[in-house]
Symmetry: none
Subunit: 210 residues, 4 copies
């Protein structure tokens, strides 16, 4: 790879990283291209060498972000039973959130873009497939638990998956708005209760304390 090509790759990453920071901090509309350029240490025109427009940059950032999240989710360990892996997925996702709490704001912007007629189309379909991926991952774990008998047959895997993914989003939102919100503890207790609701009577262990 020539020096030129190498630089090009680096710059592309620098721009996306800068965009992530700036969009997260100020939101899409209030972020100016010049802000992103400065944060990326490139000229304003350079942004346009890599992205046709501000909106295109934003969408590219979305894809980049989603790919990373998807990659992390797919990288879940294969050991342990369904319940253990469900707990792991849950806590790993929330930990990842804490590590990147500063960039969570951009997610609200992605959602908003998925609702805005001007940007809806591309964002919505990408967003839907991301949610599908997450719900399927959870639903598969629940189904596995039902098959192995650690979760009751009464459990509706798809609904639990949707609710759990939704709860994660919803709690992250609360934690993001209120830094005093103790996400890790709260979410663990919540998951305890939910799992208790999926566990057959004879296998239930009491949940001690809170």
């Amino acid at each position: 790879m020539s020096k030129r090509e190498e630089n090009k790759g680096k710059k592309q990453t620098a721009i996306l990283a800068a965009a992530l920071t700036v969009f997260s901090q100020k939101g899409y509309a209030a972020s100016k291209i010049i802000d992103i350029a400065r944060a990326a240490n490139v000229g304003k025109g350079t942004i346009y060498e890599y992205h046709r427009s501000k909106e295109d940059l934003f969408f590219a950032l979305f894809q980049w972000y989603v790919e990373r999240i998807g990659g992390e989710a797919a990288a879940q360990p294969m050991e342990g039973n369904a319940e253990e892996r469900l707990r792991l997925f849950f806590s790993a996702t929330l930990s990842a959130f804490y590590e990147e709490i500063d960039t969570f704001g951009v997610f609200l912007e992605f959602w908003a873009a998925a609702g805005n007629p001007a940007t809806r189309d591309r964002f919505r379909s990408a967003m839907l497939s991301m949610y599908d991926q997450f719900r399927t991952l959870v639903a598969d774990l629940v189904d596995e638990g039902r098959a192995t008998g650690i979760f009751t047959k009464d459990t509706d895997a798809v609904s639990v998956a949707a609710g759990l993914v939704g709860a994660m989003d919803g709690m992250m939102l609360q934690a993001w708005m209120d830094r005093k919100f103790d996400l890790l503890t709260v979410s663990e207790h919540f998951l305890d209760t939910l799992i208790s609701g999926m566990t057959p009577h004879d296998q239930r262990k009491p949940i001690h304390d809170n």
Copy 2:
């Protein structure tokens, strides 16, 4: 109330209603004052007789919206036991969502405003108190259930409340993005499982089917 004051009140409401529609459809940044003025059937200047700036109008809308939601939530019936009232609150909230699905988009904008440094301060505190209200409402119901013995002492009311409120937000989001998402069924099954997890063993009823 004089006729003049009455008119003023009507116009004020018309402006807020128009703002709700327009902001919901296009998002805050893409909404123009002229759009709102036209939707409210008033002149552009009139908006500024009632609100000092676009951001002020947006915040006024937020308060108006939150008051309505809070009022609906507070208007929950007092009959039935804790579980029944929890289910009622849950389904009433989600039904209200379906009735106003077109204006849900504005909520994303409120969230985004709560994250944007330029608007953060007023939005965030109002948002926090709204979430507090909802969580307290749910937590009180759970605590009542624990006191009356229909929920186990193991249950952590605060965590369940936070998770449940979060799950509602999260599922509404999924439903809003994907009109094929069957929110009512999914959420009911999810709540079944969660309540099952709070119910003492000896009182559990099996959840039949699907």
Copy 3:
């Protein structure tokens, strides 16, 4: 007419007049909206209250310009025979040119716009109808002269009209580029020769002098 409406009309004219000056001096591309705004003593935004875009303003100017020219051409006197009126039309047009020589440059821009794919459509058709009007005016005079016997039947009215209109354009161009070019004298001699070519032998008067 209210004061407001009155002002609106005045401003519209001021903008067009300013556009004429600026476009004439600098050409379309080099003219900035702010230049025109300043020349018209209005704010930059005001231009856009009256014209959707720079190109629209330019086209509006074209129409305004053409209307005036067409009006002048149509206002030719009705007295005298065909030859006299042909000479009058010719000298009146060239005199008008001299009075507005500073704005002739804009005409080159109109022509260029009629050739530019981006603007071609509207400009070309308007330009064609303007030329049609002029050629028809001249051709009618020539035909009248043929009918009354002061011009020979050999004369092809349409060709002479096209050539004469073309010669006027072409000579104005030369005069505009070279202020030493003696348009009035040259054009008169040229017209003498042409008219001589249309005059039957037995009616010809010698052209005296240089």
Copy 4:
């Protein structure tokens, strides 16, 4: 000439030819250096190896264009009398126009450049000398005709030359804008009439119809 120099010459020509095409199609302002580079099959930077700036390239193109035209005009045959050679010059020029009608648009741009304060100086003087050359060529033919008695002494050679050159420009303009305009026929009839006006009575032949 070394191979290197030869290549350089070829590239120079390729750039000018590409510039001619692009400027003709889009006009000066709307033509981008990258368009010309691509049309010439060279890199963007290469243009700047041969021309200091876009305007310089445009001026170089002008000179190249004018040289070719001047060359063609100077290459007129020496046989025949003044009238025959005048007719030949006339039809040869118009034929050349038809062959290159696609690049006539660039001529409007040259004219415009001669009027634009930013570019006026160099373009205007070159343009003037070009017109001088043409007018002199025609005037010399007319003077020759006067000397040999086929044109009347009354004829003002300079005026006829200016008018004829102007008429050629003006008619080409009309033909260029309106592809239905029958330039060859029209211009021939027009020249017939003009020549008739220069011909002594006793030598006149009737012009038979059109």
